[in-house]
Amino acid sequence: MVHIRLTVNGKTYGLDVEEGVRLIDVLRDQLRLTGTKEGCGEGECGACTVIMDGRTVNSCLVMAFQADGSDITTIEGIAKGGTLHPIQRAFLEVGAVQCGFCTPGMVLSAKALLDKNPEPTREEIREGISGNLCRCTGYHKIVDAIALASSYIRGGKEDGTS
């Protein structure tokens, strides 16, 4: 057993974890934050994407002990109470959500992108989600949604940004 400290969605946890446990296992099995999905277990699909200290990681490739002391944002930490984040709102409005299994990872990759680059080109958006696979949409609507989210965020506070 290893003792680690994690800040997840603003809340700090002290946890005892087995050596072989991955960050995704801690999030899902111990913290029951099941919005983080496992699609492949080898860092290909991006369904398990979370933001760790400002950068996206595949939580299936990060061992729990490697995340000790880090600040993590999962899909559950994106909306502000009952108000959807502009990225979430844009995904809904554009129709970028189908089966939904890639959606949490896509939203987090989009957030990490827009936090650094609030006005990305379509090419930059495509690059920003290049680590996330979607089998339903064909990506066009996801790119549309992120472009729309960018305009919401730049538009100001009335769109749910803080």
Binding site: R28, D29, R32, L33, T34, G35, T36, K37, E38, G39, C40, G41, E42, C45, A47, T74, I75, E76, I78, A79, L84, Q88, F91, L92, E93, G95, V97, Q98, C99, G100, F101, C102, T103, P104, V107, L133, C134, R135, C136
Partner: protein
């Protein structure tokens, strides 16, 4: 008439909000108090008799029970068209990945440890991996007397006469490959007894009402005692039409009295579900000097692997669509579904209609080239219109906007118009 509220308007999908918030529950997101975990032991040989020893596995700490064919309380079979799958293989495996045992333990780790201690003795049998070889009389048989499970015939006009009048004839063979749906959510599920004494299986499926029948039959229960709950489904594309883990989970819960959960890895998901049928397509197509299609002969051989799944419907649809959307007065189509020891094939987007255009459209391009004709004009000259008759005799009475579609595609492809 009142304006419509929904039809013609953009609506937000009902499950969208839960999905963007990460709150939608897929089967792997369900955790029940005191639940057990199941792992499937799968065949490593494509065709073999098996003897299974589970004693050492059952002694493994944490292992509660190991299910084999002997534990199936009802009929040890399932299948959407033919009951050719066994729930757990009894004597023989027919493909790599066939389920042999289901280990139930207090943790996933313990289930894996128990699984590693099961001994399977394989007595290998001759196997066949090529559907053309599988048709031969002396080929190893996968089930029963013949590997040919379906033959669709379509005859229209007289192809011999038709070819006699052709100015150009093109003969080619095409092959498509096996394809996996790779839906993003690997198979997962949980089964348990509810308070009314029913067995409940919660798994992502495309076919809950049929799963209910298959689970009930395999457990030997009336279907009213089996409930299937379909939570959020992480993509399917045809790949969740056959049973994968539903019966294993149900049987596990039925026999242990506890909730049993299983989650497939991506690798196991590839082993567990059907693929798109690879099809060998032999085409002979002829046209007149003016560019009118006069005759077509096609033989389609679909490899359904070790199990039929939807092979009959898929190869029928492939046969029906073999001409492509073109009027041909003389047609002869033979479409076969054949068993081999390959991974099994079933439903996948298009259901057979996706494979044949690879051949029929290539034929169109090669014919156009041989005739010295523009390939777009050649297609427009032969395409279905209102009033056309298909190879299987259907008169297209209504909307056939194909001409407009081909023109639009032609414009953009060759004239750079946007």
């Amino acid at each position: 008439m009142e304006p419509l509220n929904i039809v013609g308007n953009r609506v937000i999908r009902v499950d969208g909000r839960a999905k963007v918030k990460g709150e939608a529950l897929y089967p792997q997101d369900i955790y029940l108090e005191g639940m057990l975990y199941g792992k499937t032991l799968r065949s490593e040989k494509p065709h073999a008799y098996i003897q299974v020893e589970i004693e050492e596995g059952e002694k493994t700490p944490g292992v509660v029970k190991i299910l084999t064919a002997k534990d199936v309380t009802g009929q040890n079979h399932h299948g959407v068209l033919f009951k050719d799958h066994e729930v757990l293989c009894s004597e023989r495996v027919r493909r790599i990945g066939d389920p042999i045992a289901f280990v139930i333990a207090t943790s996933e780790k313990a289930a894996c440890e128990g699984l590693a201690k099961i001994k399977v003795r394989y007595t290998e049998l001759p196997a066949v991996f090529d559907p053309v070889e599988a048709i031969a009389k002396d080929a190893p048989k996968i089930h029963g007397e013949s590997n040919i499970i379906y033959h669709y015939r379509c005859r229209k006009g007289n192809v011999e006469e038709g070819f006699k009048n052709c100015h150009v004839i093109v003969e080619r063979e095409y092959k498509t490959s096996m394809v996996d749906h790779a839906f993003l959510q690997p198979e997962a599920g949980v089964a348990y007894w509810d308070q009314e004494g029913n067995i409940v299986v919660c798994a992502a499926t495309q076919y809950p009402h049929f799963d209910q029948l298959e689970v009930a039959e395999a457990l030997g229960l009336p279907k009213e005692k089996v409930k299937i709950i379909n939570p959020a489904v992480g993509g399917a594309f045809g790949g969740r039409e056959d049973i994968t883990l539903q019966i294993h989970l149900a049987l596990g819960a039925y026999l242990t009295g506890k909730a049993v959960k299983a989650v497939y890895s991506r690798e196991e998901s590839f082993y567990a579900h059907a693929k798109r049928h690879p099809i060998i397509m032999r085409y002979k197509t002829g046209a007149s000097k003016e560019g009118k299609l006069l005759a077509m002969e096609a033989t389609l051989i679909g490899d359904t692997g070790a199990y039929a799944s939807w092979a009959v419907n898929v190869m029928r649809k492939a046969g029906v669509h073999a001409t492509g959307p073109y009027e041909i007065p003389n047609v002869k189509i033979d479409s076969y579904a054949v068993y081999t020891n390959n991974p099994f094939c079933g439903a996948m987007r298009g259901f057979g209609a996706t494979q044949v255009p690879i051949a029929s459209e290539q034929q169109m391009d090669i014919l156009a080239q041989a005739l010295g004709m523009d390939p777009v004009r050649f297609r427009l000259f032969n395409c279905f219109r209102v009033g056309s008759e298909t190879a299987n005799g259907q008169i297209l009475h209504e909307s056939v906007p194909l001409e407009r579609c081909i023109e639009a595609v032609g414009q953009r492809l060759f004239h750079g118009l946007r």
